[in-house]
Symmetry: C2
Subunit: 146 residues, 2 copies
DNA sequence: CCCTATAATGAGAATAGTTCTTATTCCAAT
DNA sequence: ATTGGAATAAGAACTATTCTCATTATAGGG
């Protein structure tokens, strides 16, 4: 999905909910779309500077999360990172480097993904649990730290 | 693994590192072993009361994490939960309820687990990433909330 | 069993990430 | 242009966690 079409999708979703797509909110979305992995409030703030003050940034992330535009990711102590929801970017998983802590997205070929889904359904049914989604985090050494 | 054999394993591991297995540390381990899923400092404190003051509890969890006895789990905003490491309890995954937020352990039959490992290796090799482990979180509705 | 060195503890202060409050500003529809 | 509700900005407040340091408990040697 192109960046501008993502923008249009978001404008539509927010419009449907009477939530305004303001300059600050666009800036945060653009910063999230520009990278390939979840980003923290601090990282976004460093990038956006005074254009989006920290308190507004947090509020914006909460608004976008409410609207289903972004999704939080909890992968480190005391740090919430956000990324665009999968209906905008496509389903993917994470590669988490055990050395440098970097988190990168990885798109999974659909044959693999189908297998993951099958396993998840199987495991769920063993435990009287009805799966609606799954998160697979692959831990290891990234190319830089290998 | 029985609770007392877990205790013996931990005593050995801590002894090897000249870390004392004191009353407070035993109490924290017992509280963790008594449940089937990761628990937060607040939850443990509510349970243990003044027997283990909050500051000692946090320190204890840090010591146990250092020694590889417990493992942190980041699954909620601003909250770290801990559980006994897999060499004590066996490899497992998590069922995360999207309604009530509960996190439960689920043991995965070894045939399934082997498939998960195979997929993880395959995905890693597509991305020049050398996997050392994986975390599979299954999101959905638990039996209570179904 | 008692001493002693050292590790561990407990109480509270300090910190960091995040959320809340409130006055002000912006925006869309009249 | 006006206006009413939504959004913003600044800083105070809050909460989970970590730090400090004086006190206490523990293991090992006598």
């Amino acid at each position: 999905m192109t960046s501008s079409s993502i923008d249009r999708e978001i404008a539509k979703r927010l419009g449907d909910r009477d939530v305004r797509y303001t300059r600050g909110r666009r800036a945060v979305v653009a910063a999230l779309a520009a990278h390939d992995g979840p980003r923290s409030a601090a990282e976004l703030h460093a990038e956006l500077g005074n254009a989006v003050p920290l308190s507004s940034l947090y509020r914006t992330l909460a608004v976008l999360e409410d609207a289903g535009v972004v999704v939080p990711h909890f992968g480190a102590k005391n740090l919430t990172r956000y990324e665009l929801a999968e209906w905008l970017t496509g389903h993917h998983h994470h590669l988490v480097c055990i050395d440098c802590g970097a988190v990168d997205d990885v798109d999974v070929p659909s044959t693999y993904e189908a297998e993951v889904r099958r396993l998840v359904e199987g495991i769920g049914s063993l435990a009287s649990f009805r799966p609606t989604g799954h998160v697979l985090e692959i831990e290891g050494k990234c190319a830089r730290c290998a």
